[in-house]
């Protein structure tokens, strides 16, 4: 307890990310100033959007500065407080450092969670921002109607798996792609999607969509970009919607550009990007809907929980390579009672 571990961002990646972009450092536990608390960050969320932050890409959040401590969504418990509104034991959610311990003024950017029987991990997982992202994208852009075909790429991921299941709840025929046969089996057997395929073993994305979406795609929940987006556009139906949630394939390597753009005109396609942080007003409606779906067993989810702050760089690299299954979380030390 007398020493702290942090993960620093030390090198921008050139192409695929490896662990050399990060440095693990030990040092003293910081002291909170007046108005601050000392937090033990016990649970971290690792997410695809962290990749563009590592490059000086024109992203929706500022890029990480080389030399800064890494940060991301997480949960921390107050260990020591010099802020009148917070006391030891309070659990806070916000953008936290990749650190066992950090100081912060929580009033600025964190929300206090009340123990309500929900597992802490659910606030980063099935009730968290990745699931809200699926909900917002489908609600604002996808507008799914019964009988429509929804194609979800990276469908076993944190966002994709929720998008696929909300699609089923809305009456869509749902088709998902994933990167291992195990994930494909889970999509089909556990989540109950209508069809799923392994994008690594199909001959082509185009052929896979011809086979699994023979009538075309009404809604594409796009998490991947590149060849996946190309195939979705090539199979899009008139008045189709392409929900541009992410383009993880473009974060690491530059592929060919998107061809046959004229199809957006000819098929009257709406292709739209969004950022969940601009739609936090939808959180209450989402939370209510998700609690009800969970209660009725309509939503299933899967997490990969890594233990130990030293393993965070490797876990993030694995995320970009599609090695994890479901929401990727990192547990650091003991967590408080929920």
């Amino acid at each position: 307890m007398s020493q702290n571990t942090v993960v620093r961002f030390v090198k921008r990646p050139d192409g695929f990310v490896d662990e050399s972009s990060f440095a693990i450092e030990r040092g003293p536990i910081p002291e909170p100033a007046a108005g601050e608390v000392l937090l033990h960050n016990f649970l971290h969320s690792l997410d695809p959007y962290m990749r563009p932050r590592m490059t000086e890409m024109d992203s929706y959040v500022a890029p990480f500065e080389v030399g800064q401590i890494m940060e991301g969504g997480g949960l921390g418990v107050v260990v020591e407080s010099r802020h009148p509104d917070y006391k030891p034991g309070d659990v806070l959610q916000g953008m936290l450092q990749w650190a066992e311990y950090q100081t912060a003024n929580p009033a600025r950017f964190m929300r206090k969670l009340e123990p309500d029987g929900q597992a802490w991990k659910d606030y980063l997982g099935v009730m968290g921002f990745a699931s809200l992202t699926a909900y917002v994208g489908l609600t604002l852009i996808g507008d799914p109607k019964p009988g429509e075909t929804l194609f979800v790429s990276a469908a076993s991921g944190a966002v994709g798996s929720i998008a696929a299941q909300i699609g089923k709840i809305k009456g869509c025929r749902v088709v998902g792609s994933a990167g291992t046969d195990e994930k494909v089996a889970w999509l089909r057997d556990e989540l109950g999607v209508d069809a799923a395929f392994n994008y690594r073993t199909v001959t082509s994305m185009d052929g896979a969509l011809s086979e699994h979406c023979p009538g075309g795609v009404d809604i594409d929940f796009e998490n991947v970009g590149g060849e996946t987006l190309q195939a979705a556009l090539d199979h899009i139906r008139p008045h189709g919607r392409i929900i541009m949630c992410g383009a993880i394939s473009e974060y690491n390597v530059k592929g060919a550009g998107l061809a046959r753009i004229f199809r957006i005109v000819s098929h009257k396609v709406r292709m739209q990007g969004f950022i969940v942080s601009e739609h936090l007003d939808m959180m209450p409606a989402f939370t209510a809907a998700m609690r009800s779906w969970l209660k009725e067993g309509q939503i299933k989810y899967r997490e990969t929980v890594i233990e130990g702050i030293d393993n965070m760089p490797r876990a993030l690299v694995g995320l970009f390579r599609g090695e994890n299954f479901g929401k990727l979380l990192v547990k650091v030390g003991a967590e408080p009672a929920s």
Copy 2:
């Protein structure tokens, strides 16, 4: 008067269109059957959307069949009637053959125009579908707000010039591109756009947008595709809208695909295609607005009128090459009083 001339579509183009895709044929004037009229087609509209119809592209209208008589929007006057609701002298607007004379049952697909002092050409020109296209795209997708920057490609064209001027009426800063210095001067001096440039003589589209849209592009009224669309996407501002009206550069040659698609996510861009024929319910509102704008001198327009049916193939080829200026019409024979 005893012989008819028609233009037949005889060969699909491979890349750029030339006159070998068409054949001019003389023959007898057809006889109307019961329920039909004989029309003299005195005014024709030539439009960019005809290019994808010449290829078996997956377009919004069925491709032309090789061997069929060419067709397009036009005005015809009834010469002889075997339909109770139509009499000689009636002027009809609809999809007409590229023919001096044709027979048709006009009840199916034509509307009767009443002489109201408006020049006939205005029904194909400033009051016609190209202008309605500009209005629908800006209204449904562009949603222009005062102070926003609107970039219009092919801004001296039939659609672009109206889009640019509606943008000015809505209080936007309007920037247009065109393919000759004469067109650029017209945009600046006559239409009053805030900036205009010749895309053929600038060093790069990217540089031109950096110079003329230094704060970025809020709305792109996209008529061109290819490098123009790439530059617009690269300069799009957060919450930008890309109105996908056409992609004339892609009709003839296949360029590189659209790169940096992630910007659609990061900038929360809405990129949407539409087809004017699905929004004919907006015609009355458009017509009322346009009459009022014309009366107040807020809309200017320019036409190129070609004479003679034999010149239609060459005129269409010229349209695809950007040789005309403003709306391209073809006058065939005498027109009735308006």
